[in-house]
């Protein structure tokens, strides 16, 4: 086999983060090559460098042995490299056909004037649809009217309109059902038979072992290893991903006596999203929420905290019926939620550490409408010290902090609201291993103080390492509950998938 795409010595930095540090990868013709690593390891950045969305600070890229430069997406497309994005990149108000050929419509000259050749578009699209075995989607359908799986199919079809030799899949199965995943794999096999080389990014181990030929592991923006998939075990892969020395000691579980129920949720239902979810959280307990992205874990938390409206549920907080009117009402009752997307929902990143930290308790530390700066400064200093937030001072702008320190600011913000129940949504996303360990330590201390915690996480080791009990949610429904003594990756994953 010959090498089709090769990258070496790729460096890329963002403010506060070295995203790629001497990265390399080699893709052979006609293979399916998995790229795996933890969240924030640099997979997505690498893919964006390959497709020209980001420009690497330095490094070399070779296609078929020739050195190429990719400065913008068009360069990549014209060289036959296309990507199917994790978040759909389609235009929701345009039709399927318009989306598929956007930016590279075939044209037909009528005299001196170039017209978009709709006949050619349809012919090519029909051919691609036939090849992929897509039916039930009309070329005139607006993207807005399609479901998730259909959108994904259009994304794949769109990538094929570029006559791509190299296709990149960025977590393609994250939002798909089991059946849809099967049909996606068939499509991928068909592409392989056609000689297309593919990079496949996924979190799901069993997928990697099922369809990929080789696997490259990256960690903290650096290249770790490339190996034949058939020659490695899952344990080996995980060890490479997390870094061998950290396994075992990373998670610290407090030995806390679990008390009375503090939060009882019965029949949590939100049409189209959640259906009849029941669970109970006890004092001092860490309750894990497992499931795929989009399964309804975040939505459950947001409903309970009053961040989402129009749901029905029977909720008891400390034994009393409770329904959050809004998030402030929840905070006042000791219920605090930490968003998974700290830049979008958690923090106001262009503002200072201080301003972020006290954002949700500002009304508690103000006289009338005026802020008591002295109390505020004391609180901020206390929590910055307690959580060892590494920032030059409390007026430092949050967006310039590293991911780990941003997450600590977010935690501090939640803690200064004096929560009795803390809901952590992906508390270690985009955080390096060192900061992860610190965050786990903080979580341990919190549960020792008797704070009950719900931890939503997509990282199985973290979930199993930290929780007392795990609730598994799938497609808006609770599909199971596992006690700590019965914990195993297979069991929980089996329910979630």
């Amino acid at each position: 086999m010959s090498t089709i795409l090769k990258l070496e010595h790729i460096y890329k930095s963002f403010p506060g983060v070295k995203a790629l540090d001497d990265m390399q990868i080699e893709l052979e013709r006609g293979e399916i090559h998995a790229v795996c690593g933890e969240n924030g390891a640099g997979k997505s950045t690498l893919m964006k460098v390959i497709t020209g969305v980001y420009k690497a600070d330095s490094g070399n890229m070779y296609l078929n042995g020739e050195k190429i430069t990719v400065n913008e997406p068009n360069d990549a497309y014209s060289k036959g490299i296309a990507i199917i994005f994790q978040e759909t990149s389609l235009f929701k108000d345009l039709t399927v056909l318009e989306n598929m050929f956007m930016g590279h419509e075939p044209v037909k000259k009528i005299g001196p004037i170039s017209n978009i050749d709709y006949a050619a578009e349809e012919a090519k699209a029909t051919e691609i649809f036939n090849f992929l075995g897509i039916s039930g989607i009309s070329f005139d359908d607006k993207i807005d009217n399609l479901g998730v799986a259909a959108k994904q199919m259009v994304e794949i079809a769109k990538a094929l309109t570029y006559d791509a030799e190299v296709l990149i899949f960025d977590e393609p199965t994250a939002a798909l059902t089991e059946k849809e995943v099967r049909s996606l794999f068939e499509t991928i096999q068909r592409l392989k038979e056609r000689g297309v080389s593919m990079l496949y990014i996924s979190h799901r181990m069993e997928e990697i072992f099922e369809i990929t030929d080789r696997v490259t592991v990256i960690r903290d923006g650096s290249f770790i290893k490339t190996a034949k998939t058939s020659e490695v075990t899952e344990q080996q892969l995980i060890a490479w991903m997390v870094g061998r020395e950290m396994v075992g000691e990373l998670y610290c579980k407090a030995d806390v006596e679990i008390g009375e129920p503090v939060l009882e949720v019965k029949g949590l239902t939100k049409p189209g999203l959640l259906e009849n979810i029941d669970f109970t959280l006890r004092r001092g307990e860490i309750l894990g929420f497992a499931g795929l992205a989009g399964a309804g874990r975040t939505e459950s938390a947001e409903c309970i905290c009053g961040l989402m409206k129009r749901y029905t549920a029977d909720i008891k907080l400390f034994g009393k019926p409770f329904k959050a009117k809004n998030y402030r009402h929840a905070i006042d009752n000791g219920l605090v939620y930490l968003s998974e997307d700290r830049k979008k929902y958690g923090l106001v990143v262009p503002m200072s550490v201080k301003e972020n930290l006290t954002m949700s308790i500002l009304y508690q530390i103000s006289k009338g409408t005026f802020i008591d700066f002295k109390t505020e400064n004391q609180i901020v200093e206390k929590y910055m010290k307690d959580l060892s937030v590494k920032a030059p001072d409390k007026d430092f702008v949050v967006e310039n902090l590293s991911g780990g320190n941003q997450q600590k600011v977010l935690l501090a913000k939640a803690l200064c609201a004096k929560p009795k129940i803390l809901i952590l949504d992906e508390p270690t996303r985009g955080v390096d291993v060192g900061a992860k360990a610190e965050i786990y330590k903080i979580i341990k201390q919190l549960s020792e103080q008797g704070i009950s915690i719900i931890m939503i996480s997509s990282e199985m080791p973290e979930l199993l390492g930290m929780s007392d009990r795990v609730v598994v949610i799938k497609e808006g429904r609770k599909v199971g509950e596992v006690e700590r003594k019965d914990f195993s990756q297979e069991k929980v994953l089996g329910m979630a998938l």
Binding site: D93, G103, S114, I116, S138, F139, K151, G272, M308
Partner: protein
């Protein structure tokens, strides 16, 4: 794939429903007022409004705006009026008018693209510039005594239909073709729909915004000439506030103000609607107050309807995607 009947699909679309409403309104207006006798001047208004509405539609489709679209017409009129008076042939004057408009809009586009200043604020500043520049021009910007032969060209008619209307319709047809059959037309939809997605599709957002503004400027140049040509003089401040017609036309045409949708054909219908509302307020003796009130309400309703899915409200169209209500907004 199965094709729908184009006639049926037109009359069940937003434009089609609007067209039926406009036709009824037109009938009522003709029956209850003397619009019939005034048809020529009404259609003359329609002619320039179509082009002005198109100019605004282009920028509104990008999610941008040009508040200075009214005041700039006076400035363009100053240049073209003087040229006409000097006897320069009309086609050449049209080119100059387009050029002035293009320069003006290019400034707005450039400042937006290069310095990331919202076009709404940039064009507000341009209004101030336009208002301030007329009095600094010779004769305070007034151009009078343009020969009758020239204004006769603007007033030429076939029956009661001004020749200019055919010109406007030609431009409209051109844009119907342009938006559907050229790559650039498609990229306007794309950039208006989602800039990040457009970048991923290899489209250069800045270039598209800039060029679209230039194109809009050219259309404003034509609008200005169509507005002033039938008169024998140019009085620059006369066009102040004309954006008040163009913005509703563009918005009502189904251009979602959030960008990304809309078809040029809608402009034709909404121009009739807006022009008729204006006439109705005059002919029914309602006065300015009602005119302003109607425009305010019409714009609000049009915008509200474009951000709200009425079809879904009435149970018409069900989305297949249950996953739309993400986040907690």
């Amino acid at each position: 794939m199965n094709k729908k009947n184009p006639v049926v699909s037109f009359f069940t679309s937003r434009e089609g429903i609007l067209a039926i409403f406009v036709a009824i309104f037109f009938g009522v207006l003709v029956a209850t007022s003397n619009l019939g006798q005034d048809m020529f001047s009404f259609l003359k208004d329609v002619s320039y409004m179509i082009v002005g509405g198109l100019a605004l539609m282009l920028v509104v489709m990008l999610g941008e705006i040009d508040i200075s679209a009214g005041t700039v017409l006076g400035l363009i009129g100053f240049f073209t009026g003087n040229l006409l008076k000097m006897g320069v042939p009309i086609p050449l004057v049209i080119l100059v008018g387009m050029l002035v408009g293009m320069v003006n809009s290019a400034i707005i586009g450039f400042i937006n693209v290069k310095f990331h200043v919202p076009t709404m604020v940039v064009s507000l500043a341009m209004v101030k510039l336009h208002l301030g520049i007329f009095p600094l021009l010779p004769n305070a910007g007034w151009v009078s005594n343009i020969p009758m032969e020239i204004s006769n060209v603007g007033n030429a008619k076939i029956g009661v239909v001004p020749v200019m209307l055919f010109f406007s319709l030609a431009i409209l047809v051109f844009f119907m073709w342009f938006m559907k059959y050229t790559r650039f037309g498609k990229t306007i939809y794309a950039v208006g729909g989602s800039k990040p997605s457009a970048t991923l599709a290899g489209i250069k957002n800045g270039k598209v915004v800039f060029l679209t503004f230039v194109m809009s400027g050219a259309l404003l140049g034509i609008t200005s000439i169509m507005y002033w040509l039938p008169a024998s003089q140019v009085q620059p401040s006369g066009t102040n506030g004309l954006e008040m017609y163009f913005i509703p036309i563009a918005v009502v045409a189904g251009v979602s103000i959030l960008g990304g949708t809309g078809r040029p054909i809608g402009i034709l219908i909404s121009t009739f609607l807006i022009a008729m509302l204006q006439r109705a307020c005059i002919l029914w003796g309602l006065g300015n107050a009602w005119l302003y009130l109607t425009y305010g309400v019409v714009v609000l309703i049009a915008v509200y309807s474009s951000v709200t899915d009425f079809a879904a409200l009435f149970g018409g169209r069900k989305k297949k995607d249950a996953n739309l209500e993400g986040g907690a907004n």
